[in-house]
């Protein structure tokens, strides 16, 4: 934009300190909000982006408010929220994960300025819009790049998750997570943790359990019904038969797609996304089927860690993922104890409910 099209340069005082090509509207915007850059990147179209839906309670710490809601009811909760509207919330369990997603976006935009294949974080909350301003103020305070949200005032968020082509949904409410899984959306329940160890702010690290997370729970069923020996036997016999996919397969696939964009620009060593498989399977035997399955899907995982039944905590401590998905609360709790942000995928035989939905769909977890 040339100066010719800009405002006429007359002596106006301090505004002329920096010569600019800005239009009067952009000038006005700068004066209102000097911290934002002149042109904020536009959110990508939902069908092009990898959309992560996060609930308010996992993005921010709302424990105090949640207590008020449970003990005193909705009206008092809302009153408290509105009274504290200008007081930002502290980060919640999903916060560092969201920050890491934004760091990846920054790198992607540098390499592919016109591409819409980016992460898009949507705030998906059941809260009434009365809490809206406090949430917006908090997003501003922490300088998060969240431009889309749904405050459903108590209505189910599931339809809206679909409308945003959501690839992954994180919530503190297990019922909503289960509902999302049933609708074919990758989802996990997050919990507030006392301890959250320091994680990288330059590399997004995502760790997955294998069975009933990336893979279906078919093998886990055999283990539960017939024991470990039968499980090993079965896995060896079916080594070359790919496992069916699990609820998080699609999300791994989406991460892989973005990773390839970095590889394409010669940034394999320096890739800001790293994925891990952390499984109780053993490298010597049952692990082979897992690796072959991933290969048959055309998916890569950066590190596969076969624990042969050993506790996952120490390994996670070494990896320091931003997020770890497991279908068993035992492992989720174990991870949380050492400070890894772990979330529960309530899917498969470990939950004691019949699986449905996921394996009925041939395609990956979210429509794209």
């Amino acid at each position: 934009m040339s100066l010719k099209n800009g405002p006429t340069l007359t002596a106006r005082g301090p505004d002329l300190a920096s010569i600019s090509n800005r239009t009067p509207l952009e000038d006005a915007r700068m004066q209102l909000n000097p911290s934002t850059p002149t042109r904020k990147p536009k959110p990508p179209k939902p069908e092009n982006a990898i959309t992560i839906g996060v609930s308010a309670r996992v993005l921010f710490n709302m424990e105090k408010e949640q207590q008020i809601y449970q003990q005193q009811g909705l009206e008092d909760y809302i009153k408290y929220q509105v009274e504290h509207e200008t007081q930002p919330f502290n980060p919640g369990p999903a916060f560092s994960f969201v920050k890491a997603l934004e760091a990846v976006n920054t790198r992607l935009r540098e390499l592919y300025p016109d591409s819409e294949e980016l992460f898009d974080v949507v705030l998906m909350t059941n809260n009434h819009a009365y809490v809206g301003l406090r949430l917006i103020n908090t997003i501003n305070h922490h300088q998060l790049f969240i431009e889309r949200f749904c405050m459903t005032g108590g209505n189910s968020p599931i339809g809206y998750l679909k409308a945003y082509h959501t690839n992954l949904y994180l919530s503190a409410d297990p019922a909503k997570v289960r509902e999302a899984l049933e609708e074919g959306i990758a989802a996990a329940t997050m919990f507030t943790q006392e301890k959250m160890t320091q994680v990288s702010d330059t590399q997004l690290r995502v760790a997955f359990d294998g069975d009933a997370v990336l893979f279906s729970d078919e093998s886990e069923r055999i283990y539960k019904a017939h024991g470990l020996d039968k499980f090993f036997e079965h896995e060896k016999a079916h080594e070359n038969k790919p496992l069916d996919h699990g609820p998080l397969k699609g999300f791994l696939e989406a991460l892989g797609k973005l990773q390839k964009k970095f590889y394409g620009k010669g940034q394999r060593m320096d890739c800001p996304i790293r994925t891990y498989l952390v499984t109780a399977r053993s490298a010597a035997s049952s692990g082979t089927r897992a690796l072959k399955t991933l290969r048959s899907w055309g998916l890569e995982i950066d590190e596969a860690l076969f624990l042969a039944g050993a506790p996952k905590g120490p390994m996670l401590e070494k990896i320091r993922p931003h997020i770890f998905f497991d279908d068993q609360m035992f492992h989720v709790e174990g991870a949380a104890e050492i400070g890894t942000v772990a979330c529960h995928v309530p899917y498969g035989i470990a939950q004691g409910v019949t699986k449905k939905g996921i394996n009925d769909k041939e395609t990956s977890a979210a429509p794209k």
Partner: protein, 256 residues
């Protein structure tokens, strides 16, 4: 020529306090659907009238002396329908609709009928009809053609226009818009957060979170507390409208 007939089955509302909503009989009844007998089919505006009625019922439950109620006026301009004025009235009775007044006028005079009846909100399925009324200073909105709830009145404010008012429409219409919003906001306050027969929904289509925040603040300053807010930041609107199922959209300057 405008003629107004009061519905004697329905208690007339307090003219100073009631929120007068005008709908065309074309939108309420499906007159083409009649098959010989005198009963019309139900039109697009039917769930709306039921929802408005429900709000009134609940308002009176909270306070039997409540005067801030919806006052529904049925406008008939179609000359064919005018000949069947008694049919329109009998159908109103048949369906138990809480319509206070029937207004019959020619196409040219229908705006006059809106003005003489002190209409606060005119709802139509016809875009040009709504635009015409708006230009003459009557706050107007389009009825949502898709099936909406009859359990809860759902009003959708289009946030992009809340913060950037349509400079084409005269300020009389803007005043009318703000006045209606304030009345709606006041009505909403009569109910608690849950189980309200009225829900106020805000959707901002284009801007990001700041636009939505500004719209929330603006509405709040006009006495409107929003129940649900959706910030689309450029995402396509129609999947959301299908889920939200509003009865009508206010300040809607976008093509659907």
């Amino acid at each position: 020529m405008v003629s107004t007939i009061q519905n004697t089955d329905v208690k007339q509302k307090d003219a100073d306090r009631a929120v007068v909503v005008a709908v065309t009989s074309r939108a309420v009844f499906d007159c083409g659907a009649e098959d010989g007998d005198d009963v019309y089919g139900v039109g697009v505006a039917f769930p709306l009238l039921q929802a408005l009625q429900r709000v009134n019922e609940r308002l009176l439950e909270e306070n039997p002396a409540e005067s801030l109620l919806f006052d529904v006026v049925l406008i008939t301009t179609d000359s064919q329908q005018q000949q069947q004025s008694s049919r329109i009235i009998s159908n109103t009775r048949h369906y138990g609709l809480e319509i206070s007044r029937f207004c019959f006028s020619s196409e040219e005079d229908f705006i006059e009928s809106l003005l003489t009846n002190h209409v606060d909100l005119f709802l139509s399925t016809d875009r040009s009809e709504a635009a015409q009324a708006s230009h003459k200073g009557v706050f107007s909105a389009l009825l949502n053609r898709k099936v909406a709830s009859s359990e809860q009145l759902r009003v959708l404010f289009c946030g992009d226009a809340v913060i950037r008012p349509d400079t084409d429409s005269p300020s009389a219409s803007q005043d009318a818009a703000q006045s209606f919003s304030a009345q709606l906001g006041e009505m909403r306050q009569r109910f608690g957060l849950l189980h309200s027969p009225l829900s106020i929904v805000l959707v901002t289509s284009r801007g990001g979170r700041e636009s939505c925040g500004t719209a929330l603040r603006t509405l709040r300053s006009r006495g409107v507390s929003v129940d649900e807010a959706y910030c689309l930041a450029g995402a396509p609107r129609s999947p959301f409208l299908s889920l939200l199922r509003p009865h009508f959209l206010l300040n809607n300057d976008l093509e659907d």
